[in-house]
Amino acid sequence: MELQTLTYIVVGFTFALYIGIAVWARAGSTKEFYVAGGGIHPIANGMATGADWMSAASFISMAGLIGFSYQGYGGSVFLLGWTGGYVLLAMLLAPYLRKGGKFTVPEFIGDRYYSKTARIVAVVCLIIASITYVIGQMKGIGVAFSRFLETSYEIGLTAGMVIVFIYAVLGGMKGITYTQIAQYVVLIFAYTIPAIFISMNLTGNPIPQLGLGGTLADGTYLLDKLDQVVTELGFSEYTTSTRGTTLNMFMYTLSLMIGTAGLPHVIMRFFTVPTVKDARRSAGWALIFIAILYTTAPAVAGMARLNLMNTLEPAPGEHLVYDERPQWFKNWEVTGLLEFEDKNSDGKIQYSANKDTNEMVKIDNDILVLANPEIAQLPNWVIALVAAGGLAAALSTAAGLLLAIASAISHDLMKGIFTPNISERKELNASRIAMAATIGLAGYLGFNPPDFAAGTVALAFGLAASSLFPALMLGIFYKRMNTAGAVAGMLSGIGVTLFYVFQHKGIMFVKGTEYLGDMSPNWFMGIEPNAFGAVGALVNLIVALIVCKVTPPPPKEVLEFVDFIRSPGAAATASEH
């Protein structure tokens, strides 16, 4: 069957499935809308968390980031950072937040710090972090559609918005949870099946995690061969080239870990399980489901890079003739992901690390995953599955983020602060309207991506790491922490992080306003802006502790609340509050 038709069938089938789930899992109460009724099985929640967490970036871009931009070993910052955060989440946040029995992260902060100001600051942090993150997902939906289904970016984005609208507005957290479970299944098959094929082809071992450490047909180790091939072309050695200094890699990893643990759309998934024990267990299952993709990704990175280099230069000095390039090369040239410029006019493709002679003037990071099945000559149904997987990854993460924003508006700002007397019925309607409006806003930003879209990952993780994580952790582990300390900590943490990111990347990422320039000599101790969240978190912690020491301790009810979330026994149910 024609690839195009097959792709439409596979993607159409998954979309029909998501809509079917949406109709079946409608939300009838605010409890169902915010926390899916609070009765989700920990393994099911783990799976939903996996899909919630793994975004278009994890699915489409990460292997390419590791394989190309971060030159192999340097890409470890993503692998370590985006998994290690779950250990922090499981031990330092999830169980106690579940015990507290709130609907949203700002609600917990507002109650723990007995202050509407603290709650509003938390809402602002949540909205900035989540909006920046959701722009990337909207772009991912549009791009996946336009590349695989050959629709325009706008039609793709609109189709994605309609699907999310149906299941997120109807079902809230309940609809999102069950669609995320389905989306996890789709995306994990779509990611691992091509990897298994490629590992088989190259090393004869069907398990990519073992294949990466295995041998090629000629008996040499795959990684040794890769090191040799890239160094011959002037790139740095694949298995040892670091990202900046060792300190930079250290801080980058730590920032991503703390940021992961502090992202509200992930934390709030743990409000949906029945008990505190389930919250801990669920974090473990979530990480298992995530680890399946995250341990496969470095194998895809290494193997696809090797495949690509072998295609371009089958033997040392023997270059691919441009007119004889394979079909996939032509396909991806059309989309602009690959670009060739015949600098020495010999009609052959010379790829090297030397900017003056390199003729592959553009190899987009995304190509490693997107073109991977074609480079390895896998059957058409695998390519169709990759399209459905990329869309599942983007849709599931977008839905989680949209719910985080919508519930912060309807539950924290409206019910919590401005219109506390609205009935449950009205709050449920308000949350649906907030969800619809948020989807509209995200769609608008997807159609008109602001200049700063490229820098948003740094901002989302930096903000979560430097504001929400320390405030939540201190609220649980340091009983004496009070409003003044927490608010001062959050504001200074965000302030320092924004200041550092802006001075190197431009104010609000506007080009020309980056008064220190985006250059490594001006980086504080060689730490790049993306890696600064950990420093922001430290500043938050220190400021919070100092301010707390000189201001009065929290009232008795708050101390009792902290005792309650620390003690063993049944979790509170949110409707009681």
Binding site: S76, V87, A90, T253
Partner: protein
Amino acid sequence: MNENEEAYWNANVSLILKLLAVWFVVPFLGGIVFVDVLNLIHLGGYKLGFWIAQQGSIYLFVVLIFIYTKKMSDLDDRFESEGDK
């Protein structure tokens, strides 16, 4: 907080500190700071430090969470039953 709850909390904190020490040492020291030294050892086609950074640490994270879950469940059962007495 009564004595029982305080003992439970202290046990929890000391367990967390032990597990987080491992969480820190393996990826940050083994996978980043001392990666060059560990790379001298090979694990099949993998250099050990590279393997810790791209594979081993992730498996370790899963194990750490499940150890925490198991130990805390035991602790919960013990203190909940004592609380009923």
